[in-house]
Amino acid sequence: MAAHLSSGRVNLTALREAGRRELREFLDKCAGSKAIVWDEYLTGPFGLIAQYSLLKEHEVEKMFTLKAGRLPPADVKNIIFFVRPRLELMDIIAENVLSEDRVRSPVRDFHILFVPRRSLLCEQRLKDQGVLGSIIHREEYSLDLIPFDGDLLSMESESAFKECYLENDQTSLYHAAKGLMTLQALYGTIPQIFGKGECARHVANMMIRMKREFPGSQNSIFPVFDTLLLLDRNVDLLTPLATQLTYEGLIDEIYGIQNTYVKLPPEKFAPKKQGEGGKELPTEPKKLQLNSAEELYAEIRDKNFNAVGSVLSKKAKIISAAFEERHHAKTVGEIKQFVLQLPHMQAARTSLANHTSIAELIKDITTSEDFFDNLTVEQEFMSGIDTDKTNNYIEDCIAQKHPLIKILRMVCLQSVCNSGLKQKVLDYYKREILQTYGYEHILTLNNLEKAGLLKPQASGRNNYPTIRKTMRLWMDDINEQNPNDISYVYSGYAPLSVRLAQLLARPGWRSIEEVLKMLPGPHFEERQQLPTGLQKKRQHGENRVTLVFFLGGVTYAEIAALRFLSQIEDGGTEYVIATTKLINGTSWIKSLMEKLEPPPF
């Protein structure tokens, strides 16, 4: 289950184990049989730390989702709420607890585990509701950085971008800094810190301060990471808006990957004959876990989608050939050998069948006229064509009432690629959007403006062309099959964020000072002193390890680009990626939209 975490350069199993240990310790505090009442949002992230079996070992007998009203009956001694510190959830807990007391029958003890941390505000709310005294243990579980894969950590904080860049609330940055401290406690002090952006600066400051304030025990762990690179998402607003074109990126764009799981339409996965799963109802979506534990997926996830087909067909041939072997097996020894390999072969076949089906589903969409049109417009914008006038395709999409998020994504992309829209163009789009989708979206448009995604061009200057040329963000000759540059992940566009990481490693940011000044926020470098014994003497040819932390979210395509850089021969640097949230353009824009009340019917 956790094998994929130890496959990378840095063994992230240790982080997962630390999380499991903390969970066990908490569960053991509440002695006796237990039922857990889950804030549904948390089940996904927790699933990456622990399975049900671990909870069961610690006497968790029942699990429910948090709902208003009375708790379901369960003959247990403890009821434990696993919740995010949110006021509305406190109200539900209060209701649960109060209606419980009326039933009286078996006395049950209540506890709350706050994730990722306790909140005084929430406890005050519980007190106001008169139930604080009934809660025995109130603890926090600092699930700051959750290991997703061998080279990937996420805080899964969905509102981090909004809080940081819209509301200027730094709480999630505080958690990021805390997560980094935990990471340093496990993997050693990171000697070099680089950063770009206001939030990056804040996190670095907090880390330095925390280190100064807790000098208690010297960290005597040999540092695993050489460098930490902190990047603000608002330094590169462009990348998440573009449609990701890697295999994993497209799966996320189309179906949405949640905590490494994806739900797919079941039709293509119907068991052909007597499948192992028995009779599967074709109405239930097919749920698959996607991570590097699956050999085939690890191989294709980061490829451009156009290169996936050939890999799949090659694999199909290899597997068929392997199954053919059985005809050549003559001696008992040979047959035995074959039988021993069978489970592995069968797993490979299932994996191949799944990914062939997913690729078919995606192909249906990528070959559609609308996908093509949309992509054409995106690529025009990113390469700097016609970004200063209203776009016909966007206009058509509004007239046909395509989903609002799609419209916003395109308009924002145009705005970012033009360093803001001409006032006339902006006003036109705004009016069209409000008249077609409803005036209440004034609020959403304002949020996008505050976040810098949709704005009027200040002083008529467009910096994007300079940035694009200097950082080679648009590459005309790309090789999707055997890429030689990160631009393959968007079939031409090289993500700005990843270029920053690439240029930092070689030749250094000094070469792009001018452009760095055009991007928002300060850039900086800090050094953390190491005791002499721990200073690294690098072996000749040994790669450096850089942790890139995206504050405000990262896309799968950017991850793919960084993995590509890790794998380049003589690249010299391997990357581990951390983020506040895994995002795509749609989920990102959605997080910035004003939550509108559902229509009354």
Binding site: A2, L5, G32, F46, L87, Q170, R209, G216, A399, L434
Partner: protein, 487 residues
């Protein structure tokens, strides 16, 4: 078994559990209650014969994810999961490299020996700090039960989630020191808690004045007020800060929580004239006017529909009320149910077009979609017919006839109607594409004839049905001697 009773007695007669408190809450009663509860739960550990508390297997657990288990355990007993846990996997070797915490205190190890010698530090020490030595703090810092904490200590305690009494901080200066300390550690949780305290104990004017020079704290207060919905104070604050546009938007946002259409309309009326940006001001005004119209139209149409005298409503009953729909949807509705009404009527398309300055393009698109849906081809025709001053008629479409064709096709217009508009598409390639796609044979044939393209015509002849009028037509053209074919 009357567990409560026994434990209660034991609590009152013994003092050995006294140190076991989770919070130093001012509220004494709740503190006692908590301790009592804690004791109850502790007894179970002490009496428990289970030696396996420390046991954990580093197993793979391939199946049985948490979200999956919730459904399962909620419905059935937990026994079903046995056997799903598979044996040890690779990860176990990784575990050995994991740095052991210096003090692996766990509750069970404390109680096995019946030592009750733990202070409150022991409990707070477990948790993240136990494996993050850098975060651990020297024991000396725990000067518990000392009620005279400095602002710094208070903030530290609050950071650890302990509820502290802030009432000691009486003077404004003390309160501000406390706040500044919290801001310095960037802990939003603590900042907010202190702000709540200050909000409760300070005059509004003073609070606002002090926060104006403390931007971080100010943002937290604004966020907090939004969260708990203290609209009035929030608006006061924004106005005090002279952030008028933000205040206007904040006020406007409130309309979303008003369900009743009339009340919502009145509320929006109050928003008109607020200091929005100039563009937004127009939109808010339009929003109000639109809802006002919708209320009139809705009342009228509901009446008409229930009376059952109007054919259009009988034939096409309304699927939903028009209240709170976007402008374009309203226009569609109006083009569908009230197309022929005079401009003087609020419900007429012409009136909407004029009131909201709907651009021609938008208007034509919407009207076309509505009339096509009703299969009112005459109206569609009229939409694109213009008369010049000599009385000649001419076809014109501000949206381009290819779009007209697409919309008509989506509303399954018959070929006769469709081809009339395909014919009007200007670009020849587009015209041929559309004509071929929608089987407007006449248009295809005529176009090839006009292009004098004999070869394409012959190719197309194979595509039409044998013995059909189209085939006859093609044959007629091909045999004509009047045309000078280019190939």
């Amino acid at each position: 078994m009357n567990r409560m009773k026994v434990d209660e007695e034991e609590y009152w007669h013994s003092s050995k559990f006294k140190a076991f408190t989770f919070d130093d809450e001012d509220d004494e009663l709740s503190q006692l209650k908590e301790s009592k509860r804690a004791v109850n739960s502790l007894r179970d550990i002490v009496d428990d014969d289970d030696d396996d508390l420390e046991k954990f297997s580093w197993s793979g657990e391939p199946v049985g994810s948490i979200s999956w288990s919730i459904k399962e355990t909620a419905s059935s007993s937990s026994g079903a999961f046995e056997g799903r846990d598979s044996g040890l996997q690779k990860g176990s070797s990784a575990y050995t490299t994991f740095p052991k915490p210096v003090s692996s205190y766990s509750l069970s190890s404390f109680f096995k020996g019946r030592h009750v010698a733990f202070s409150s530090t022991a409990l707070s020490e477990t948790g993240v700090k136990s494996y993050a030595p850098e975060l651990r703090r020297p024991k000396a810092e725990y000067k518990d039960y000392n009620s005279d904490w400095s602002p710094k200590d208070t903030v530290r305690r609050m950071q650890k989630g302990k509820i502290c009494s802030l009432e000691r901080f009486r003077s404004l200066q003390d309160k501000l020191l406390l706040l500044d300390e919290a801001v310095a550690v960037h802990d939003g949780n603590v900042i907010t808690a202190i702000l709540i305290f200050m909000k409760r104990t300070l005059k509004k004017a003073i609070l606002f004045r002090e926060l104006e020079v403390r931007q971080v704290a100010l943002r937290h207060l604004i966020h907090f007020l939004k969260e708990i919905g203290e609209q009035k104070l929030l608006l006061d604050l924004l106005r005090f800060l002279d952030r008028m546009e933000e205040a206007a938007l904040t006020q406007y946002r409130e309309h979303l929580s008003i369900q009743d259409a009339d009340k919502r309309k009145e509320f929006l009326k109050g928003c008109v004239g607020l200091p929005f940006s100039s563009e937004d001001a127009v939109h808010v005004q339009d929003h109000y006017t639109l809802l006002e119209r919708q209320i009139i139209i809705e009342a009228n149409d509901r009446h008409l529909e229930s009376a059952g005298q109007t054919e259009i409503f009988r034939k096409y009953p309304r699927k939903a009320s028009i209240l709170n729909m976007p402008l374009v949807t309203t226009l569609f509705y109006s083009c569908f149910y009230h197309y022929t009404e005079a401009e003087g009527m609020f419900s007429s398309p012409a009136n909407l077009k004029k009131t909201f300055k709907i651009p021609d393009k938008q208007y034509v698109l919407t009207a076309l979609a509505a009339r096509a849906k009703l299969r009112a081809w005459h109206d569609v025709d009229a939409l694109f017919t213009t008369k010049n001053w000599l009385g000649y008629t001419k076809k014109k479409a501000p949206i381009g006839f290819h779009r007209v064709v697409e919309i008509l096709q989506r509303n399954s217009a018959p070929v006769q109607v469709l081809q009339e508009y395909v014919r009007l598409v200007e670009d020849v390639d587009t015209k041929l594409n559309l004509a071929t796609k929608y089987k407007c044979h006449d248009v295809v044939v005529d176009t090839y004839r006009d292009l004098k393209d004999r070869q394409q015509l012959m190719v197309y002849r194979c595509k039409v049905e044998r013995g059909s009028p189209e085939e006859d037509k093609i044959d007629g053209i091909l045999s004509s001697s009047q045309i000078r074919w280019k190939n």
